[in-house]
Subunit: 311 residues, 2 copies
């Protein structure tokens, strides 16, 4: 647990006790789960995208920004192996914006909503008086998809660490048109054997550190096994790109070795699953080089609040 | 339906058809309602507060801003006679902010959460790279409180138009420390006779126009009956202040005359209820002066998107 964002999140989680009977999953996971009377539950996530931080309108169209804002939240639903239900979107418009820009944004939002059957059911549109940057917030609901939502905190010593797809270099384009792994997550969770899961939004090294910290375990990754994306291969350090670049929006999950073998042998998906290492004792993360040498692996992904003091 | 905000909302509502069996209330009301399998439903609202538009840190503390951000959404829950369930909050921090500011904001958020039993269950904190304004988004869930959620669209010709509390001059202070009318709304709705309800966030004239437009009815307000707040009395035009100032966060509702008489005679609350006029045929709103003369009443409250072109 190294990033300023994580320290602040921990402070928020500790500041108020939530009844686990009503809120079995709360602050610190990809979504919060809320138990309703009668045995049903819903999950909720909220994500804010800021122009200049999360997107740049010099390189992304408003339609792409709309798609990304929805897809990032849909990926949170996938991260817990839940099914997206509905979304509400708030937009803060720069002074110069008009209905043309709103319609472009809306087009991207509904393209993601339609693709993942997660309708836009409400929103809030407001205008800055003086600021000149666009801000979008998506809040999304999901429901459990036939199993308990998968948390970050359940990884066990001996688990295999797996990822979907390929990692790194998302900034070259994938961060705008990625496909959240909803169906993959539900199929993986249907094995009933997955101990922990999340999506990789801030980079593998940072997000794996979260699973380790919350599960009180360590990890050893095999450098050779990490599925480096084609985009990452074009960088000067493809392995570092795969380990540390943010916004892969792939699944990161752990399950016992035998169950992993079974899953990999039976997996028929267009999106590959790769076992990249093992959960071990302790809270250290290490990287195993092809020659067998172990070096410490530091969380070096994106820290949204890197400039903030420690709480 | 006169404001740019309403025109844009209508465009969004028309752009995608939502199945009313799954979403009985959607875009255009205070909250969207989502039916879950098994007969349960939840409602959701999202509200974005922008520094310089919705609050000014020269005159409001961060704690007050935190309280207001939650209370505005709690008022949306009240507007439909539903009970707040849980909230998630996103914060976009200006570059200079640190944990001290976050904790002040958090203090205000949890004071509202505790008071209205609506816990903060998750959030997202992120930083602007260049902008210098604070942005807060609250998304809130609620559940029906023993009756169907009350919509804006149910007003009937002959209904009395009622409001809680007193109106106008909220900018002198009430807009920062108002008390959402959750218990009042649930008690009023428990009569089973209320045809329409909303909260007054953009000013009585603008919000009543929304009920009239969505219910396809008109309204006549009695100028003498409108409960003008003490703060509004200090302005140069107290009646205009009560009619058009935003952020009263009082309830506006309609019900048949006999039921209104019964409610008023039985009401034992510290918050008064006042009948201020009648629902009539047509979609015109009129104001009746003490001498009986009728003049047209225009929506003249706050329009969040007044500078935007017509869609």
């Amino acid at each position: 647990m190294n990033s300023a964002e994580d320290r602040i999140t921990e402070w928020f989680a500790a500041a108020r006790h939530l009844d686990p009977a009503r809120f079995p999953v709360a602050i610190g996971d990809d979504m919060a789960q809320i138990n309703l009377d009668g045995g049903k539950s819903v999950l909720i996530t909220t994500d804010m995208l800021l122009e200049g931080t999360h997107f740049d309108l010099k390189t992304a169209s408003l339609e792409q920004v709309g798609y990304k804002s929805m897809a990032a939240s849909i990926s949170d639903c996938a991260a817990m192996a839940t099914r997206p239900l509905a979304a509400v979107v708030s937009v803060g418009l720069p002074a110069g914006y008009a209905s043309r820009e709103l319609k472009q944004l809306h087009k991207g939002i509904v393209s993601a909503a339609d693709k993942y059957d997660c309708p836009l059911v409400g929103g809030d549109i407001t205008s800055w008086q003086k600021e000149t940057a666009l801000v979008i917030n998506v809040a999304m609901l999901s429901t459990p998809a036939g199993c308990e939502p998968l948390k970050r905190s359940g990884a066990k010593v001996g688990d295999c660490i797996c990822v979907t797809g390929t990692l790194g270099g998302s900034g070259f384009g994938k961060h705008l048109d990625f496909e959240p792994r909803v169906e993959e997550a539900i199929r993986i969770a249907a094995t009933g054997k997955v101990n922990s899961m999340m999506d990789i939004s801030d980079g593998l090294s940072t997000d794996l550190a979260r699973i380790c910290h919350q599960s009180k375990v360590g990890a050893v990754l095999n450098a050779e096994a990490i599925p480096v994306s084609e985009a990452a291969m074009r960088t000067s350090d493809p392995l570092a790109s795969a380990l540390n670049d943010g916004e892969d929006f792939e699944l990161l999950f752990t399950l016992p070795e035998k169950e992993c073998e079974k899953l990999l042998s039976q997996w028929r998906g267009t999106v590959p699953i790769t076992c990249i290492g093992k959960i071990v004792k302790g809270e250290q993360m290490k990287l195993r080089a092809p020659d067998g040498q172990l070096t410490p692996l530091k969380p070096a992904g994106y820290d949204h609040l890197a400039d903030k003091e420690t709480l």
